[in-house]
Amino acid sequence: MSLDRKMQWIAQGFLFVRGHTVVHRLDPRVRLITSLSLFSVALLSHSVEELSIIIAIVLTIAGIAKIIKRFAKSMLFTAVIALIAFALNLFFYPTSPHQAVVFGVRLFAVISSTSLFFLTSTPDELEHVMKWMRLPADFVMVFVIAVRFVPVLLLDALQIMDAQRSRGLEFDKGNIFQRMKNVIPVMVPLIAVALNRSLDLAEAMDSRAYGAAKKPTSLYHLALRRSDYAMLGIVLLGVVIGVYVSLYLILF
């Protein structure tokens, strides 16, 4: 039962809710640049203080975006990874404890600044950003289809598990070999269902002229507003300060 609930939770995660804060209303490209800037400054940094400031900035933005709860869940995971990185560094590399700490904190800063972007952007916006980055159209379509259908396939998997339970299959019983065997009655129908869905999709896409024009147009388009320019200005300032401080600390 708990496996089911976990899967349903993941499926819901893909079907997120659009936010309405200042952060969400920024152009997604600006958000991307903000995240990338925080990411790069963190990467260059060697001081725990500077990194802490960066993490504080990330958390502040997350707070404004009202995503602290969701952020906290993934941050817990990241913190564990950072701790493991710290421990590995300490025990297996000829570094000082201070450097190991910097490594761990840097990892945390880098991961959290990137997830800031993904947690505040809708798949629609991600799609537009990818098109703006001139990624190939087919690649972008793969992303769109994946986000659209992964939750659907997860729900299919749950249905299949129910159907096999109704034939006497107990998923929670048996040793490791039995449990591995139990994957087959779920995997085979799931793959069949997934294949069927993709064949249907291919037909539907072709029937609606996918790939017709070399330059497809778009219903929505991204446009920068004053708030976006303001944010870009702040980010630029931040990057300059951050890089300057890092270089200063490295050289001196």
Partner: protein
């Protein structure tokens, strides 16, 4: 393998008492469902998509557990057992065969559940052969289920459930994609099961399939039971039918137009006799 002992006394094979069910994401799917089924009854559950029909029957074999209220099957609380165990006595034939078929041969597909339920080897052989024969699948015994046509796959799904001889059989949309001959077969199978004192529950939209069977009818709408009663009274009640978003059978519409009173003819044969009687009377 724990089995439910049938010697325990219960006069209600299935009982729902004030059952509520909410999905994990919070949406309420069932509200205050209460009804009882006697062994050997034939029940049709009708209602539009999303009314909660499938959600309801999934409680009977333990796939879902009620958030409030009690579901009792064979006199015992369904919460105390698992779906796999309850399924030995409560068979559900699901709507989509593609969600279940995975074995390398039709024969193995039928044997899968029998093995899970702990049948002895000799009995497995016997039940498999019976299922293959009864459902005209013997020629496909060693072929992969994937090679069968849609209609044949559905037949296989019914066959594999009946192979383990459950006391209660639930059919979820059994007539979708079936032609008239196969629907006739289904009617015969339902009648055969009833003659063996099995309890049969039909979840369906196919009102023309339901009407000649004259089952007990439960009408659902928005997670609630809107009507629960005899086929004749329920399916001829216009306001109840529109509440449940169900279209009446053609024979009911016709009987109303002819100004006949209950009971309405259940088959074209009965309707024909009524019409001929009426026309002979006019002549005289």
């Amino acid at each position: 393998m724990e089995t439910v002992s049938i010697e325990e006394s219960y006069d209600q094979i299935v009982s729902f008492e004030n059952v509520d069910y909410s999905h994990p994401n919070g949406t309420i799917a069932l509200r205050n469902i209460s009804f009882q089924l006697k062994p050997g009854e034939l029940l049709a559950i009708l209602g539009s998509n999303g009314a909660g029909k499938t959600t309801l029957v999934r409680h009977i074999n333990g796939l879902l557990k009620a958030t409030h209220g009690t579901v009792k099957v064979f006199g015992k609380d369904a919460k105390l057992s698992t779906a796999a165990k309850l399924s030995r006595k409560v068979g559900i034939v699901f709507q989509n065969p593609n969600n279940q078929l995975f074995e390398q041969s039709v024969k193995k597909e039928i044997q899968f559940a029998l093995r899970n339920f702990g049948f002895m080897e000799a009995l497995i052989e016997e039940r498999t052969n019976w299922a293959l024969k009864t459902f005209s699948l013997a020629e496909y015994a060693d072929r992969p289920p994937m090679e069968l046509s849609g209609g044949e796959k559905k037949r296989l799904c019914v066959a594999l459930v009946l192979a383990w001889d459950p006391e209660i059989l639930i059919l979820d949309e059994p007539t979708v994609g079936q032609d008239s001959e196969q629907k006739e077969n289904l009617v015969q199978i339902v009648k055969l099961l009833l003659s063996q004192k099995k309890t049969v529950i039909l979840v369906t939209h196919d009102i023309e399939f339901v009407w000649p069977l004259q089952p007990r009818v439960i009408l659902m709408s928005n997670g609630e039971i809107v009507a629960d009663g005899e086929c004749q009274e329920t399916l001829s009640n216009e306001s109840l039918m529109s509440k449940g978003s169900v279209l009446p059978p053609q024979l009911v519409e016709f009987s109303r137009l002819m100004g006949w009173s209950l009971p309405f003819p259940a088959s074209t044969f009965e309707a024909k006799s009524l019409i001929e009687k009426a026309t002979t009377r006019t002549r005289m």
